[in-house]
Amino acid sequence: MNIFKRIPIPIRYKHPLSITMILVILSFILILFLFSTYLISPGYALIAANTTPNSSHNNQIISSLKEQILQLRESYKSFLPRKPYLIVNTSDNQFALMEKTKILQEGKCSTGSYILLKATEEREWLFKTPRGMFQVNVKLRNPVWYKPDWAYIEEGVPIPSPYSPKRYQEGVLGDYALGFGKGYLVHGTVYKRLLGYPVTHGCVRLDDEDMREVFVQLNHGSKIFIY
């Protein structure tokens, strides 16, 4: 009983529930404060951003990009020639007859020698095969070669008149030839041992067997890619 008497402030306990309530409220405020730091911390923000709306947004972006890439790949495929085409590699003197991405025939060829022939100060010729994309503009069976001036100069023989019948030579271009502009031809050859070497005056020489297949597959407008 004395214990109670020793308590000097009974008046403070007039409203004990209020004090309890204050303490509880204070504790909730403290808890809220502590949790608020948790809720607004950067890590939580990132998690929140990626778990709910942004993750699905990211997935949409990824799907959309994949879809776009697929469409672009398909569009790119449309650039492939629909008809068979020829690729000539002047660096290694190789050719490939192609249909879409499939190789129909491949082998050795001869391309421009890069010889600069100097006859006089004014007259010179560079024997190179042009690079780039070309189209077949003429198909010839049993082609006849019109022998140009440089051929006579190379041989060291007098140059005949431009209309001389001596200029026309049969057989030296093989059985077939395809013209692709500016007098350049893809043709057969009698100089088989020179296939694989850069020895021509600008034309592309193929082995006769290969040339036959190329002649059959390529038509007017067929593409020839030379690099």
Partner: protein, 239 residues
């Protein structure tokens, strides 16, 4: 009444202390978890993928998208161009959308600034259009021209076939594109050779600070690439 009040007070204090301790332990655990996640760069999401992985994936897909967009742009013109795909380790000569020479890259090296660029928002602007070749150097001639003078005793030499072959053991090529992209092609990656080759060019200082890629490809591929490209030809890049 007094006992009841005292008991209520003690209980309140006890509850308060328990709540404080619980909150503090909860926050400490959260901080610990967050620190662990930050350290490992792992931020989970609903797909279960880390955030960095998602961002990297989106960046890579954007690079791939631009690569294909530019490939189509490049196919519009008739020049011989280059498609450089470091992800597939391929460098390809192309004309009008036709892959005329795909070359395998045996090894490659990317400069630090180019790797850093991958983290920057400017990357996509930088890759938006094909690069255009501005200057090129190599230790082989662009065109292997042999001059032949016609003389009265002009005859075919005995070693004719030997003369037709180009005896090249190693080729170093430097291709300088716009937007400060430098492509160095060689057969074996050697930093000393690469640096000296780039610094010895007339625009050495400019090139030294460029975004540099060094490729190792076989000698025939390197020769074909160098001889096929002309000034103004384009390049597309995926890395």
């Amino acid at each position: 009444m007094g006992l009841k009040c005292l008991a209520t007070s003690y209980i309140s204090k006890l509850i308060l202390c328990s709540l404080i301790i619980a909150s503090l332990s909860c926050k400490a655990k959260h901080d610990e978890d967050h620190a662990t996640k930050k350290d490992k760069n792992i931020v989970p999401n609903s797909t279960g993928m880390p955030l960095d992985t998602i961002n990297a994936k989106i960046t890579n897909l954007n690079i791939e998208r631009l690569f294909w967009e530019n490939r189509i742009k490049m196919a519009q013109d008739k020049s011989i161009d280059l498609a450089l795909d470091l992800i597939d380790s391929m460098v390809t000569l192309e004309i009008k959308g036709v892959r005329i020479r795909p070359c395998k890259i045996s090894d490659y090296l990317i400069s630090g600034n180019l790797l850093d660029l991958k983290q920057e928002p400017e990357l996509l602007t930088w890759l938006e259009n094909p690069f255009i070749l501005q200057n090129q150097w190599a230790d082989i001639p662009k065109e292997p021209i042999k001059i032949r003078y016609i003389t009265s005793d002009d005859t075919m030499p005995d070693n004719y076939f030997e003369l037709l072959k180009e005896n090249i053991e190693d080729i170093n090529i430097v291709l300088h594109y716009n937007r400060n992209l430098i492509l160095h092609i060689c057969q074996e990656i050697n930093h000393v050779v690469s640096d000296s080759l780039i610094q010895n060019n007339s625009q050495g200082e400019l090139l030294g600070s460029g975004y540099r890629i060094t490729l190792s490809v076989n000698i025939n591929d390197a020769k074909a690439i160098y001889r096929a490209l002309s000034s103004g030809s384009e390049l597309i890049l995926r890395y």
